[in-house]
Amino acid sequence: MLNVEAVDLHYGAAQALRKVSLSATAGRVTAVLGRNGVGKTSLMRAIAGLQPISGGAIRLDGDDLVGLAPYERVRRGVAIVPQGREIFPLLTVEENLLTGFATLRRADRYVPDMVYDLFPVLKDMLRRRGGDLSGGQQQQLAIGRALVTRPRLLVLDEPTEGIQPSIIKDIGHAIAFLRRQGNMAIVLVEQYFDFAKDLADDFVVMERGEVVMSGDRDGMDEEAVRGKIAV
């Protein structure tokens, strides 16, 4: 479904991604692992269209996304939970969720029950401004907002950051549930190795802007991976 092919990405003159390739398939979770600053976020932002790339291709179902604005990618089913939450601070929680309606048909313009089931706190705080929420609450809101857009490709950049353990477990269940539904591809960036290990079907490990290991769950050497993300 998603194919990232030999992507290069530059910040000014500095190169953050070198010939990075990755793929994600409906019904599977692809985990992207790596130390700080290796380029995980850059890759995710490139997929969502938030960062222009300088080479390579990003295809969704065979169509090249490169050159498409982020909102056009959303129309094709890409949703991102960005690192740093990026909720709309002055919109209420409810309005934050409603922004996700932008590409939906009228009939689909409702918040899926799953969002409130997963994050009951959002339901309690519908009228509170997003920016007033605690860090973890904002993270939950960001995930909820992405789900509202009914994505076919869900990109999660460290979604568990700052979230309390019980909800991390719930998120894990939710991801597992979405995977079981079989029509959504999920790309997950995670530092919390055990969490990623439990969920991932495929792995990509990065180092200094490059993919240094990849493979599926079974074919993966846990120790080697741990080594790559150790200090």
């Binding site: 910040y11 000014g12 003159a13 932002r45 269209g49 938030l50 222009p52 604005a69």
Partner: protein, 381 residues
């Protein structure tokens, strides 16, 4: 110690700028006084006064850059300090006229005579003495800035709120100085000056001296400004600009820092105003016009905010453009000037100096380091 502190503060570019200014202070007056007319090196009096004026504008721009470029305080009212310095100088020059005014009153300036003032208002006393006037050139803008800054920075007025109240300040002063009742000559302001510290103000030598003084003052201002921004204090200022509250959390008293540069900058603006007035021959409330302050900000932006050199270049370039356009294209020059501003913002995000840096860095160190402006490059469209 202070001097070594000041000299050390200059980087290579700074030394070039200061060197140029000092050279200008010597050569231009010489070109005016010594080189005969008709020579290619002759500087006409017209050019001399024109560039003298630009230099004072450059000092004003420098002072704006100090607060805006380095501390993020966008002042839309710096013209007020400039004008106050100018008025202090103007009052001195008025008193110098003495009994040579049209009504031949030994004490009262002409405008007071014909509006039937009987005696000199208290705030005019002392301005017959040069040292007092010079003190006021520094004190009046300085104290106003201190008061205004003390109130505002302590109350944590920031961003556009601060910008708009600086505008309110200069606007209020504009209206106040307009009033004839205030005793500053109303709209006509102060003019028809005769001499300055005993020298006839229109004499070639005096003009040349004023030019040299402006160039040297600008050089001094530049040295002080670079000393400030290159010190650790300067780094704190930038930190405040980027993340004010974070700066507080590591223990810096933001309000003190702001107050320091703000006041310093106001004094610089006041000095610029004081040098400006004898060269243009008039000071009037229109210098308080908010539009004038906005223009000063624009000089800075055109030259390159946060670069110290930029404001000098911007002030001279824009004003030169204005001089030239208003003469050459009197009917359509606003199109040219307006377009200039738009083009500079769009294509030279860091002003003329930014462009220069780009050209130079491309030549000297190809693509090694990236610049910070890439940060927001990922604009959606």
């Amino acid at each position: 110690m202070i001097t070594s502190f000041l000299i050390d503060s200059l980087d290579r570019r700074g030394r070039i700028v200061v060197g140029l200014l000092v050279a200008l202070a010597l050569l231009v007056p010489a070109g005016n006084l010594l080189v005969p007319e008709g020579s290619a090196f002759h500087v006409s009096t017209y050019q001399l006064t024109l560039f003298g004026k630009y230099l004072t504008y450059a000092l004003l721009a420098l002072s704006v850059d100090l607060v805006w470029g380095y501390c993020g305080i966008l002042s839309l009212g710096h013209g007020a300090f400039f004008a106050l310095g100018g008025y202090a100088m103007g009052m001195y020059l008025m008193r110098q006229i003495g009994a040579r005014g049209v009504y031949a009153d030994p004490v009262l300036p002409d405008f007071m005579v014909f509006l039937n003032w009987k005696e000199l208002p208290w705030f005019w006393h002392g301005f017959d003495m040069a040292w007092y006037a010079l003190l006021m050139v520094i004190l009046v803008p300085g104290l106003l800035a201190l008061l205004f800054g003390w109130l505002s920075f302590r109350s944590r007025v920031t961003g556009v709120y601060l910008s708009i109240i600086t505008q309110a300040l200069t606007y209020a002063l504009l209206l106040a100085f307009f009033r004839n009742d205030m005793g500053f000559g109303g709209n006509n302001g102060l003019t028809d000056f005769k001499d300055i510290v005993g020298f006839p103000i229109q004499a070639p030598g005096t003009r040349a001296a004023l030019f040299a003084a402006s160039a040297l003052m600008l050089a001094l201002g530049f040295v002080v400004a670079s000393a400030v921004v290159r010190s650790k204090l300067g780094k704190v200022l930038v930190a405040i600009r980027d993340a004010e509250s974070r700066t507080r959390f590591i223990g810096y008293r933001v309000e003190h820092y702001k107050l320091f540069v703000w006041t310093l900058s106001a004094v610089m603006a006041g000095v610029a105003g004081a040098l400006y007035v004898p060269q243009v021959g008039i000071i009037n409330p229109s210098e308080f016009d908010p539009a004038a302050s906005i223009e000063a900000v624009i000089w800075v932006a055109v030259g390159g905010r946060g670069t110290l050199v930029g404001p000098l270049i911007g002030a001279v370039a824009v004003n030169f453009g204005k001089t030239w356009f208003t003469g050459a294209l009197p009917e359509v020059w606003l199109y040219a000037l307006g377009a200039l501003f738009v083009v500079v913002t769009l294509f030279l995000p860091r002003g003329i100096v930014g462009l220069w840096d780009r050209v130079v860095s491309r030549r000297t160190k190809p693509a090694k380091e990236m610049d910070g402006s890439g940060r927001r490059a990922g604009e959606a469209a």
